[in-house]
Subunit: 339 residues, 2 copies
């Protein structure tokens, strides 16, 4: 992935998506040729690193306030999102954009709505140091961890050396995030041949999802996450949100309002929708997408069918046992959330 | 518990504590006569109610912002506390008092530092409606839950009727909280006869804890939680914190600065200490307590011994599998954290 130019990919993928969608429009039954593939369960290769990453994921001491952890905005009880239009940051700052779900995010071609991080490891360092989010710094986060003997010992055990830098921190968090996939959705059962796994209405919704062109962008195992696309292709999208999308990363004005296509996996759980969180419900999101991306006004029945299909994409949620965090030592600097 | 007058209990308990402590000062070994008893594991009688209570415990939709859950300030990854001097409430308001641990709180004679709630059920309704904490109302919380079909069905299954009021909500949360006990601390193993469970230094610390009088207030299975005592008995406690303690509940000025004695169970995890969170470390807390409650200046060695003993009180932390929360329906009112 890293060897390809991100800016050259979206267009290629877009047309590829259209082509494969078109090729498959006539298919009505489950099979290897569907434009959507089942989620493959994750195989953990380094369980100790995942265990450490899970602690860091839940540790609010990685924020300036000692109050905000990764899980605050990517809540694993709520589809890996916070179900808010935009997130709440340090000192209750209003976040600039809707928190994307962490679930299945390892399948994305890049991270953040604008793809500015090439992978989960690079992404993990972002919020920690973002003054509007966790508002800490990498140095302070590392200082905190180094002041806690149990963390120091665990990093050494996991990485086999004494170095404890932001590199090890983000590597461990990413290793945990990679486990957060959601296989076994009813739709995946259907894809694998269990014809009774979804209802007639849900199947109708899927057919419509394909024939209407939704699948041009929302395809692959993650039903999205594999290309950048313009928000407002047929009709301009009206929003107060100032996010510019891909052009802010590439400097290419042609990519203005191009955002990473969000996954539709577990979309029932990850409301509200769009980069500005403007759509509260799936019905609203489907209606808006039909209009501004496809130039199509879905009837109430069509909308309901597609929504029914989308709800078959909720997979097995990761089973997380809450970690017990090692306590701060006397030397650990105490958070001062109100200073 | 409810049939006794809360205001008459503290004094009685205080003298009882002194008497029993005095009677036991000469005892050096583990046995039935120790002023501290092991934590008894909790037996769940209604698992369905506990499961529902756990969901509510982790559900931030019980707050106005959709961001703050019970677990935000009583974090089960961090000894059931938030490890902040005072908590962060709605819109980042500074809380008035240190969040006490939820662990073993079912053993307390009353809830909150000033004991204004007679039990966990009564306590659970407090933060939800407190404008400085979760800033919601009982009616809005119940409206939220009633808008979610899975919650409605689960409440009906658990309680056997269609009524979904704040009574059922707080009963379920309390049922979950009752499970949050921490048996099997090394000190409990020692109490049960395993002489090797604690070190010579830790045993010295315990002896000193008894002979110095700490045990007069910190006794019973929870090493506290069973009486109200004046903060600053021998020497006035200096603090900017305006909390008045028990007198704010009883109206009895003689009970000014009387607070519920905090449990010392898991105290290694529940820093910072005191109702104002002023003591960052156990060493500092032990020193202050010695001076202002006992008129005693512990030597560095004595302090270290007591701290070593206190760290033997960390029990098995509750094993919590993170609940998956039922998603909001289209009818659920969306939180507006920035309005």
């Amino acid at each position: 992935m890293q060897s390809q130019s991100p800016s050259s990919r979206p267009a290629a993928r877009f047309f590829l998506g259209i082509v494969s969608a078109a090729a498959l429009l006539s298919m009505g039954s489950a099979g290897a040729q569907e434009p959507v593939q089942p989620i493959v369960p994750h195989k953990v290769t380094n369980p100790a690193q995942v265990t450490l990453g899970k602690k860091l994921w839940f540790d609010p001491r990685l924020s300036r306030s000692g109050f905000i952890s990764c899980n605050s905005c990517h809540n694993l009880s709520m589809g890996g999102s916070d179900n808010l239009k935009t997130s709440i940051g340090d000192k209750w700052q209003k976040g600039p954009i809707n928190s994307p779900t962490v679930l299945n995010s390892s399948l994305n071609l890049a991270q953040f709505w604008d793809g500015r991080a090439k992978d989960l490891k690079e992404q993990a360092g972002g919020p920690i140091a973002n003054p509007g989010e966790m508002a800490f710094s990498h140095d302070l986060a590392v200082d905190m961890l180094r002041s806690i003997p149990q963390y120091v010992a665990e990093f050494k055990r996991v990485f086999g050396h004494d170095k404890l830098t932001i590199d090890e921190v983000t590597a461990a968090i990413a290793a945990f995030e990679e486990t957060l996939v959601t296989p076994n959705a009813r739709f995946d059962q259907w894809l694998k041949g269990d014809k009774k796994a979804i209802t007639a209405q849900e199947l109708r919704g899927y057919q419509l999802f394909k024939t209407s062109g939704c699948v041009a962008c929302h395809n692959g195992p993650n039903l999205g996450g594999n290309s950048f696309q313009k928000m407002g292709l047929v009709e301009a999208y009206k929003t107060d949100n100032p996010a510019e999308g891909r052009s802010a990363v590439t400097g290419n004005d042609a990519e203005r309002f191009n955002f990473k296509v969000p996954t539709l996996r577990n979309v029932e759980l990850t409301y509200p929708y769009f980069h500005d969180g403007a759509a509260d419900t799936l019905a609203e999101a489907v209606d808006t997408m039909g209009r501004i991306q496809l130039g199509k006004k879905f009837t109430a029945q069509e909308n309901a069918d597609i929504v029914a299909f989308l709800k078959t994409l909720t997979g097995d949620q990761p089973r997380i046992s809450l970690p017990i965090l090692p306590p701060s030592s006397d030397a650990t600097k105490r958070p001062q959330p109100f200073d």
